[in-house]
């Protein structure tokens, strides 16, 4: 998928009545959306990252007018953010058929395991660092996460 192709996709969305378009090719998925409330354009396959600039950035950089991707709304400051220390795949449970570590609304303590992030088959347990209540889980199970991406919002108690 090259830049020209991505530009074409953006143009199609701009000039048509559709709000977004999603194309999958060779395991690479790109979504271009008009609506600023939708998530950033994503490009991942097998949790792959482009070594050069990722297509999602290319789309944003080349076509600022198309508003393909607004950053997620800034969380309210009163919540404590738990961020990912590494790049990997986010899992809410230790095994596919196991119970999820935590649910929204649940009270957590320092040392409560919130999730696992897997990188190269290394399972990284992410512990909560404060006592509080889980307000929001920002990532879906099985999705890739970036370094420093906010994963949970915790209301301190």
């Amino acid at each position: 998928m090259d830049l020209t192709y991505l530009k074409k996709l953006v143009r199609i969305v701009e000039q048509s009545g559709v709000d977004e378009i999603e194309v999958e090719e060779e395991g690479l998925r790109v979504r271009v959306a008009k609506n600023s409330h939708t998530n950033s354009s994503i490009a991942h396959a097998a949790s792959a990252q482009a070594v050069a600039s990722p297509p999602s950035q290319a789309v944003q950089g080349e076509n600022p007018a198309s508003q393909p991707a607004a950053p997620p709304a800034t969380p309210e400051v009163k919540y404590h953010e738990v961020k990912s220390p590494i790049v990997g795949t986010f899992y809410r449970a230790p095994a596919p058929d196991a119970e999820e570590y935590i649910q929204v609304g649940q009270t957590v303590q320092p040392k409560t395991v919130l999730c696992i992030i897997e990188a190269m088959k290394l399972m990284n347990e992410i512990e909560c660092d404060i006592a509080g209540r889980v307000v929001k889980i920002l990532v879906e199970n099985g999705q890739p996460v970036e370094y420093n991406q906010t994963l949970f919002l915790i209301e301190p108690v």
Partner: protein, 256 residues
């Protein structure tokens, strides 16, 4: 298994400094992880003759015949930046491959990121679990299961699993194999602690036949195909697809 025998036989400085042996344990990783949480120092090994809840990644079970194989976990505190944590996976496979090569005439192969194969079949499983607190790495527990003398596998495993004994046709001394792994883990660990991650990558690559070849990677329901080009700085796999180079951090690799 006699811990004194293991301790006296290793030249290891860090790995195996403390050894806890158990006849029966739920899981050596669980035990080692609780030791790590209580502040256990690096290098501690937890060995069990039998595990009642031996497990692999994503809760898969790890089956090992009592008294035939090696199942143990090691407490590690790698001085590594969180973004390079994947190197720890390579490190485990590398140490086991080096030890098997050292203990037999076999030619082990490393499969990205942390499997060790003998004649294309898996003889070693590694489950590494890291604990992070406030964004920093507390430590890693590396569980290692090596099929040493097991000769019989279930029908489901027969096609994909093997042991050192099946491949050599001989019974091996388990303590000698364990001592070789501990020595190798110690040697490679010191490279990590000294920041020589490039040495780990280069040594690992020498055991891996995938480079320059077409591979497929499956992660959940997505597939990606390309030529395996190199290891990235963080241990990720760099693939050349038809259009560009990408880095892969997850998935199961198959040689095409």
């Amino acid at each position: 298994m006699l811990k004194e025998e293991i301790r006296l036989s290793t030249q290891s400085k860090i790995i195996g400094k403390n050894i806890h042996t158990f006849d029966l344990l739920d899981s050596t990783n669980l035990k080692a992880k609780s030791l790590l949480q209580e502040g256990e120092e690096e290098g501690t090994i937890v060995i069990a003759e039998e595990q009642t809840a031996g497990r692999g990644r994503m809760g898969r079970s790890w089956v090992s015949e009592r008294g035939k194989n090696l199942t143990f976990s090691v407490v590690l505190k790698p001085q590594i930046s969180p973004e390079s944590i994947g190197i720890v996976s390579l490190y485990g496979g590398l140490a086991v491959a080096e030890a098997i090569q050292d203990q037999s005439h076999l030619h082990p192969e490393c499969k990205w990121p942390n499997d060790v194969l003998l004649n294309g079949k898996k003889c070693c499983g590694i489950l590494s679990e890291a604990v992070f607190k406030q964004g920093s790495l507390v430590g890693v527990v590396m569980g290692i299961g090596i099929n040493v003398n097991q000769r019989v596998f279930t029908r489901e495993l027969r096609a994909t699993a093997t042991s050192m004994s099946i491949e050599t046709g001989e019974e091996l001394n388990r303590i000698s194999v364990l001592v070789a792994v501990v020595n190798q883990m110690d040697e490679q660990y010191r490279l990590i602690q000294a920041g020589h991650l490039d040495d780990i990558r280069e040594k690992w690559k020498a055991y891996c036949p995938m480079f320059g070849r077409m591979v497929s990677i499956r992660h959940h329901d997505s597939f990606i195909t390309g030529i395996a080009l190199d290891l990235a700085h963080d241990g990720g796999l760099i693939l050349t697809t038809e259009h560009k180079q990408i880095k892969v951090l997850a998935g199961d690799v198959t040689l095409n």
